[in-house]
């Protein structure tokens, strides 16, 4: 159970010296409670406080950084089992796999694809995160060459090196050892040598076993050896096993029941025989590094979108940028529909408008992501806001009429909007599903 801010405060030096960067000890305590500050920032902690707080304010799942530079990604530091409890913080890295038996052109093409492919949704650029190179040739030399091929593209993507053979990894690390590649994988058989490699290059390491007991032992060995940036490969035999083990790891870690399981989870979708499904399950069920063969367009987009959905903050509505949006190709006589910048409202309305096939403008006003109903109730949606938005976004230049359709739930404001804007206000339906019919009936006449 995480400590509350007040309990933490009691253990702090109460000097308010600001050296931790926070104005008061209480503020610092609040940050610690939320897992948003590092205990070491306070130089005056007593040893007792350190030991008590150390165990409870340390994130239950370790944050592991893979890769360097602008394209590195961090996984772990999750605190909940369900996203609705707080949020999921670090989206899984989706990593495309190449093998060292592929022709160089193919390796280059895939690397370029990961570098270049981007899906822009809701104002965010969604990308794949890295390249995994698997040693299937059995030759250290071939493996090293494949890694070199990838690095030569200069995509600077976080690498994942997959080989059972430490010699092969050693050879490959010559080419990318300073880029914090993720090494796969330490098992009972090679854990010592793997640790040595990881330590030498300062890279994160995957430990692999189908048994949680063995994983705990492996983790213990590695940490004792000074390798603490670990990732767990649960070696699932099937999807059911993945869900069970991954859930167990998450639950046991966040409750601090088995601190040695407090590391991000690795999933190789390529070895499941059904990559698209594996990626989907990896995203929802606590996967943090998901390796897959390059996905075809449909599943690639679906995967990026699902990941974006699951890793949005459920307590913070996604907001659209306020402004004028077009549906179809509207002209000077097309209707204008005003609504709020809560993304769900926006998309729902946009969807229905598109299927209604009436070209129109959407005037999106900034209610800080509140829905119509709450924005009206909280006073966030006001006639002033509407007036200013019309001015700021230059709606007057877009249409020749002066009619504004407002959402049904905003009807209490209709009179005041008319007065403030001089536009004629039409009250639309409360339910976006009825907008098509509304436009056909009301706008035409």
């Amino acid at each position: 159970m995480a400590l509350k801010a007040l309990d933490i405060y009691k253990l702090l030096p109460k000097k308010n010296c600001k050296e931790c960067g926070d104005p008061t000890c209480l503020t610092f305590a609040m940050k610690l409670a939320g897992g948003k500050a590092d205990l070491d920032l306070c130089p005056y902690l007593s040893d007792e406080a350190k030991s008590v707080l150390g165990a409870t304010t340390r994130p239950p799942i370790r944050l592991v950084k893979i890769g360097v530079g602008t394209k590195n990604f961090k996984v772990g530091e999750e605190t909940v089992l369900y996203r609705h409890e707080k949020t999921f913080y670090h989206p899984p890295g989706l990593v495309f796999r190449v093998t060292d038996t592929m022709p160089a052109e193919e390796i280059v093409a895939i690397t370029r694809r990961v570098r270049d492919e981007v899906l822009t949704r809701v104002g965010a650029d969604l990308r794949f995160n890295g390249i995994a190179i698997e040693n299937v040739s059995g030759s250290a030399e071939t493996f090293a060459r494949a890694v070199e091929t990838v690095e030569k593209v200069e995509a600077h993507l976080p690498p994942v090196l997959i080989s059972k053979d430490t010699a092969a990894l050693k050879a490959a690390l010559v080419h990318c050892g300073t880029y914090r590649p993720l090494l796969h994988a330490a098992t009972q058989d090679n854990v010592q040598e793997m640790c040595a490699l990881a330590r030498q290059h300062g890279c994160p390491l995957v430990v692999r076993s189908g048994s949680l007991d063995d994983l705990v032992n492996l983790v213990k060995t590695c940490t004792a050896d000074g390798v603490t940036d670990l990732v767990l490969d649960l070696a699932p035999e099937n999807f059911g096993e993945f869900i069970r083990r991954s859930t167990a790891v998450r639950q046991l870690a966040i409750t601090r029941a088995v601190p040695d399981l407090g590391y991000p989870v690795y999933l190789n979708a390529a070895e499941t025989g059904q990559e698209d499904a594996a990626v989907a399950l990896g995203i929802v069920k606590y996967g943090s590094v998901i390796v897959t063969d390059p996905l075809p367009s449909g599943s690639a987009k679906a995967a990026l979108t699902l990941r974006q959905n699951i890793y949005t903050d459920p307590q913070k509505p996604i907001q659209m940028n306020p402004g004028i949006y077009r549906v179809g190709s509207p002209d000077k006589d097309s209707p204008v529909l005003m609504t709020v910048n809560f993304s769900l409202t926006f998309f729902t309305l946009q969807g229905y408008l598109e299927s209604a096939r009436v070209p129109c403008f959407m005037l999106i006003v900034d209610t800080e992501g509140l829905s119509v109903l709450t924005a009206v109730a909280a006073g966030k949606l006001s006639e002033m806001l509407v007036r200013d938005s019309i001015k700021t976004f230059g709606l007057e230049n877009e249409v020749s009429h002066r009619k504004l359709i407002i959402p049904g739930y905003a009807s209490p404001l209709s009179g005041r909007i008319e007065d403030a804007t001089g536009w004629k206000v039409l009250v639309g339906p409360r339910d976006a599903a009825e907008i098509g019919e509304y436009l056909h009936q009301e706008w035409k006449k």
């Binding site: 609705h84 059911g240 987009k301 679906a302 769900l344």
Partner: protein, 318 residues
């Protein structure tokens, strides 16, 4: 050392029977008992239920159906009976979900025809059937009476009850012993409220399937996902008003831009993948009936579900 995941669950999910075989007074070749889960989805080592089930959605008037599906299925979309037959024999669905879209025409009044549509589909397939009635207050009463009567004895799943419209569906369920889908707009409290209303009118818990409403992937799906997780969580924690199986339809997913505008040759693949991702995520959140509209989704979805339903290995996980 064995690791115990301790969630402190107290209450299993209630069970609902779909379809009636000859032994139960119906004519279905199979009936399903869904629900009964005692922990989070797929954690059980030997699940008692065959769920998640895959339902294929068809309609009796395809005017507003996704053009991608219409193109893929061909002429059969104009004949609900043939389409149902295909869903059963060719596509390999577990259930057929018939939307009476003909009722959506303006001033629709030919209620009598609906009876024969329902009967037709019931004789075209011997799978359990879900019937979606009208959404027009003026005709709801007659429509659901007709649907209920036409499916008497077959233990249909009737949809869709909402807070403002549940009386007729409840009446049909009670009068003709069917189960119903109770839909609320992505809100656990509203879901609970509707179930209480249904309880008050006399619908038993084992006749209700919750539809928390599934937003399209990328367009609010996360809200649905969390609503499902929360419903399942509260149910297992003892809230019997929420302890019913859930249904998810990925129908909205086919209407979004990414799918509609996927580009030539990519539409089917995209539609299938988006349905697949939606359904799999929903299944892990607790949905036990997964509805799809693209026939191509069924095979990969079934394959993935089979893997998820594998009995537990001995890996130190309960």
């Amino acid at each position: 050392m064995p690791f115990e995941m301790n969630f402190g669950w107290t209450t299993p999910i209630g069970e609902v029977v779909l379809g009636a075989t000859k032994a139960d007074g119906g004519t279905r070749r199979i009936s399903y008992r869904i629900g009964g889960g005692t922990t989070l989805p797929f954690l059980e080592s030997s699940p008692s239920s065959p769920a998640p089930l895959i339902a294929f959605e068809i309609c009796d008037n395809p005017d507003f159906w996704s053009p991608i599906v219409k193109d893929y299925c061909g002429d059969v979309v104009n004949n609900a009976n043939e389409w149902a037959k295909k869903a059963d024999a060719d596509y390999g669905a577990d259930l057929v979900r018939l939307h009476l879209t003909s009722t959506k025409q303006r001033n629709f009044s030919d209620i009598a025809s609906l009876g024969s549509v329902v009967e037709g589909v019931l004789s075209a397939t011997s799978l359990p059937v879900i019937i979606e009635g009208s959404n027009e207050p003026k005709i709801d009463s007659e429509v659901y009476q007709k649907c209920g009567e036409a499916g008497q004895g077959e233990r249909l799943l009737l949809g869709t009850a909402e807070a403002g419209k549940y009386r007729s569906i409840a009446a049909a369920a009670l009068a003709y012993n069917h189960s119903i889908i109770a839909q609320s707009p992505i809100d656990i409290n509203l879901a609970k409220q509707l179930n209480i209303l249904l309880k008050e009118i006399g619908v038993q818990r084992d006749h209700i399937v919750i539809d928390p409403y599934t937003g399209a992937l990328g367009y609010g799906f996360e809200y649905s996902y969390s609503a499902m997780e929360r419903i399942r969580f509260s149910a297992l924690k003892g809230d019997t008003d929420l302890a019913m199986p859930m249904i998810c339809s990925s129908a909205d997913t086919l209407t979004i831009k990414e799918v509609r505008e996927a580009g030539d040759g990519l539409q089917d693949e995209t539609a299938i993948q988006w349905e697949l991702f939606t359904c799999l995520a929903a299944a892990t959140a607790g949905a036990e009936i997964l509805c799809v509209r693209h026939p191509g989704t069924i095979v990969p979805l079934r394959k993935a579900l089979a893997g998820m339903k594998q009995p537990a290995q001995s890996a130190g996980v309960p």
